[in-house]
Symmetry: C2
Subunit: 267 residues, 2 copies
């Protein structure tokens, strides 16, 4: 599929205004419930804005503060370029929908390659193939939100007990993931995938909101075509705060992204 | 020791100017070589600026882009407050020494507690006591930089082979750490400790610069008095980029901070 024909590319498009600003039409179809847009989808929009004037083609690191919930509709993007050189460039991006700034992001852009790793202790977990996994779109207890129609998510049966009323005692989710329209992954899609699984509290039978406070995503390599495998785990929950650690491997078994977020959780 | 008597508190102090700005006198004694200040020290300064007008007393999440090297001397801090509520508050902080902006940080403040964890898969590693560990201040191959005089670092012998010419094949460092003047840890000191160990490439016998590109630090709990244990590991090195994963436990064995940075490394 040509990338400009993909729903993700259309929904994350940014345009320059006559006044020299940058504008996006945030698509309400990428929500996580109650009209609130998914945080990874928003990072895709922000990265596109940062890339407009960058000398480099790929986002390699995004660190975001989620100031408030972002609704669909028109939004302004303010890009403040930092220093840029041969290796990388920095920018700060502020996303402002109608109600005022909702997302502030530090963006680093560079040129990613397909070279093999020089060092890796991120072996790909053993998970059955996508067809032997649990499609969350139709799972009991699965998310009935816009995002679930945009991405095809297949949960590792070992971490899917919660979908059939048998929660685990471990806050761990693993899933194959791809865009529902078949568009292959790229660094922008990895930003989406880094915040696309349900909160890990679902795995232990505690569904509910877990709004992201800050999220850092590192894109480590260009992903191969096909499914990506996403692993999300919480390692520490205390005082109403949870971390969510995320690793993403491509179809060739290579680590292509890492992320960590701090989220609020029900106490 | 009263905290206002500590070198760290003096070196990270910020003051309001008559014009309403915020200013710091960055202390060249906290350098990592060549007059370049340590990234964790700078986060301490930035957090103090963010706390000035915050309704909350503690930094809980900082995400920073290191735009360029920061030298000692006077620096301006620009704090842009975001939304704040009963639970947390956001701010963006820009640190500008004489040469222009060098550090852009998203800061989230809140109120941290000493409650026990609700969930944790971060058992404290088994490391001999500080007196049985390797003091890097005097170690052959150890860092002969200002920072090494400000903090007392005791490397786990299991990860200290590189200090005596016997590097490991694992990019892992563990060390007890405290401020050299005996000041007890607090959330600000944890920001320092999150970027205080040498690059993990040292462990495999490849000393050299590893400039931080982006760094996220999460402070998860108020630390108990005494030594902290810091573990730093690299999990993926590719194309001249390395991650550095950091966890910090307090003297009671509790996880009190997590961090991840993306750094440039020699190829």
């Amino acid at each position: 599929m040509p990338q400009n024909g993909s729903a993700f590319d259309r929904a994350t498009a940014v345009t320059r205004t006559e006044g020299g600003g940058i504008r996006a039409e945030l698509d309400p179809a990428w929500d996580v419930g109650a009209g609130v847009l998914n945080g990874g989808y928003l990072l895709g929009v922000v990265a596109r804005a940062a890339l407009l004037d960058s000398p480099h083609p790929h986002p390699v690191a995004l660190s975001a503060s989620y100031l408030r919930a972002t609704p669909g509709g028109p939004a302004d993007l303010t890009v403040t370029a930092g220093p840029g050189g041969r290796t990388l460039a920095h920018a700060s991006v502020l996303l402002s929908p109608a109600g005022g700034p909702s997302l502030a992001v530090q963006v680093t852009t560079a040129t990613l390659g397909r070279d093999g790793s020089d060092y890796s202790v991120n072996p790909v977990p053993e998970v059955p193939g996508p067809d032997e996994c649990v499609a969350t779109r139709t799972a009991e207890g699965g998310p009935a939100v816009g995002l679930a129609r945009q991405i095809d998510t297949r949960l590792d049966p070992a971490t899917a007990g919660w979908t059939v009323g048998r929660p685990s005692d471990t806050r761990l989710l693993r899933a194959w993931i791809r865009l529902a329209d078949g568009r292959d992954p790229d660094p922008l899609a990895l930003l989406l995938f880094a915040d696309a699984l349900p909160p890990t509290a679902f795995a232990v039978g505690r569904p509910g909101w877990a709004p992201t406070v800050q999220l850092q995503v590192l894109v480590r390599a260009l992903p191969a075509p096909g499914w990506c495998l996403v692993e999300s785990r919480s390692t520490e929950v205390t005082g109403g705060w949870s971390d969510e650690e995320c690793r993403i491997w491509d179809s060739a078994g290579r680590l292509v992204a890492q992320a960590r977020q701090l989220a609020r959780v029900a106490r």
